[in-house]
């Protein structure tokens, strides 16, 4: 096959994703430097206003006043995504290690069990937690039947429920890349350490952890990125009480109709996420994508 032929075969993929994904992203970038018009679209001139309004409010006499409204939303989203990533890591490491230690014939089945929820609709997976956590939900009804509480606990519509929903949704993203690196490591290294009377802790910290690190980094990116832009969990489980970046972006394109500001927010998270991906590209590629 000639290089020309190979490029020709790839052309439909490149054109399709280029025209309908890369170009729209560039359009979004351009829109973020434009001005919102009265009909909800955009108009000239080019300004940095959308980005400035992330941090400042324009007063009547055009002076800029610092406002923390949006900064808080951004920091909240980043903080929640970071904690969710950490919680996923805490759950995924032992699970991935457990699967690695199983006999070879049992591993594909276990792996399939872990990856299956990934393919189920995210809306449905988030909604399940509404059934469990709401006032007449499974937990409250059980606790009341047992006589432990007399009125329902406020389990739904708070940050805790959002954490739970996000960890639940993204856990497979963390387990799969970590498993992929652990599975490929040479057991001889661990056995050598044991033969040299290393303690379990020393083996975990000085042999297994360094070997698992590329998987941990890949998993961290795969969880952090979608968690940062999440829309469903804050909406259904947080009750929309507190805004997150994903919901704020969605609002700018529906109810608020401020496209430049929405585009600026979308650009912001894209730059952060693509930046991190490119920075760690080699490691992520070596680990491969889930499934």
């Amino acid at each position: 096959m000639t290089p020309r032929r190979a490029l020709l075969l790839l052309l439909p993929s490149i054109l399709m994703i280029g025209i309908f994904m890369a170009v729209p992203m560039i359009v979004g970038l351009v829109y973020s430097f434009m001005t919102a018009d009265s009909t909800g679209g955009v108009e000239m001139p080019f300004t940095f206003d959308a980005y400035i309004s992330l941090l400042y409010e324009r007063d009547f006499d055009d002076t800029l006043l610092f406002t923390s409204d949006y900064l808080i939303i951004i920091l909240r989203s980043v903080g929640v995504a970071a904690i969710v990533t950490l919680l996923c890591l805490v759950m995924a490491l032992p699970l991935a290690w457990y699967i690695t230690c199983q006999p070879e014939r049992r591993r594909p089945g276990l792996l399939f069990i872990v990856s299956l929820p990934f393919w189920i609709n995210m809306l449905i997976r988030t909604y399940c937690w509404v059934l469990i956590l709401r006032d007449q939900g499974l937990i409250n009804i059980l606790l009341m039947k047992l006589g432990l509480i007399s009125s329902p606990l406020p389990l739904l519509y708070n940050n805790g429920a959002v954490f739970l929903g996000l960890v639940y949704t993204f856990l497979p993203f963390m387990v799969l890349p970590i498993y992929a690196t652990l599975e490929r490591q040479d057991p001889k290294l661990i056995e050598a350490a044991f033969d040299l009377y290393a303690t379990r802790w020393a083996v975990a910290r000085r042999v297994v952890w360094p070997l698992a690190k590329p998987g941990v980094i890949a998993g961290t990116l795969l969880v952090f990125a979608p968690a940062l832009g999440s829309y469903l969990a804050p909406d259904l489980l947080g009750g929309g009480k507190q805004l997150y970046i994903g919901n704020l972006i969605q609002m700018q394109f529906s109810t608020s109709r401020n496209w430049p500001f929405g585009a600026a927010l979308a650009t912001l998270i894209t730059v952060v996420i693509l930046g991190a991906m490119i920075w760690q590209q080699k490691r992520v590629r070596r680990v491969g994508l889930p499934l």
């Binding site: 190979a6 994703i17 189920i120 609709n121 449905i124 007449q136 499974l138 832009g229 259904l236 585009a263």
Partner: protein, 264 residues
């Protein structure tokens, strides 16, 4: 000789932890499915086993319309994405290194890394900017784009492990390129293509946020419709239709896996 300190494959206390994590992944889904069979009008108060809410859901005209839209979009974008991904996978796996190959790989993987909300709003802006307003066809284009990498993964995997010797042998026997592809490569690649198509189908069926932003009057997909029902309140009908959607996804993913398994 002294015995080793311990067997590293046995970490004390890890099995219950792994079991907990797996129960955590499945228990909420089981709760949903059980509630879907609950006869009571109040979702979470159990009275007796019943199929009545499935009947109610199936007879709801709005649910039928949304299901029809979802299936049309999923089938159309699966066919498009699978054809495009098959060609792309052949170019990547069988073609030589060419200039810009790395960039092409990055571009094809773009839908996997860009947050869905960003894809959703930029696609919305782009479609309204160029004035593309073709109803379901808008959705089909958007779905095809993000289904391509998912369809490509199993096809690439299959190409990687297919014995290259068979293709070489056919070439040695003077098979021309067309016959080589039709008689050798394609039949061997078929399970990978089927598996890719099924993953593309599930990915399209599962999409919510992109469809939410792009769907207009008359182009509501099933997940978007379920979401609008949820905004009004939790009903047993939602449990029933969600359970059906869940089963549909499960059937396709398990089928995709079985096809991938067959190769070894």
């Amino acid at each position: 000789m002294r015995a080793r300190p311990f067997d590293w494959r046995k970490t004390p206390g890890i099995a219950p932890f792994a079991a907990f994590a797996i129960i955590f992944l499945y228990a909420p889904l089981v709760v949903l499915v059980i509630y879907a069979f609950n006869a009571n009008n109040v979702v979470t108060i159990w009275t007796s086993f019943s199929l009545k809410w499935f009947g109610v859901a199936i007879q709801d005209q709005a649910i039928r319309d949304a299901t029809f839209n979802s299936i049309v979009v999923a089938v159309a974008s699966t066919i498009l994405a699978t054809i495009i991904a098959t060609l792309g996978a052949l170019g990547l796996e069988r073609g030589p290194n060419f200039r810009g190959r790395g960039t092409a790989i990055g571009l094809v993987g773009l839908p996997l890394v860009v947050p869905e909300i960003v894809t959703a709003v930029t696609t919305l802006v782009f479609f309204s900017g160029i004035g593309l307003n073709l109803g379901l066809f808008n959705l089909i284009i958007a779905h095809t784009v993000f289904c391509i990498p998912f369809a490509m993964l199993p096809i690439q995997a299959r190409l990687k492990e297919m014995p290259a010797g068979v293709e070489e042998a056919a070439r040695d026997l003077y098979a021309d390129e067309r016959r080589l592809f039709m008689k050798v490569t394609l039949p061997l690649l078929a399970p990978g293509i089927m598996s890719g198509a099924m993953l593309a189908f599930v990915t399209s069926l599962d999409d919510f946020i992109i469809s939410l932003m792009l769907a207009g009057a008359g182009t509501t997909t099933l997940p978007v419709y379920i979401y609008s029902m949820l905004r009004v309140g939790v009903t047993p009908e939602i449990n029933a239709i969600s359970t059906l959607l869940l089963l549909l996804s499960l059937i396709f993913v398990v089928a995709a896996l079985l096809l991938t398994r067959k190769r070894s």
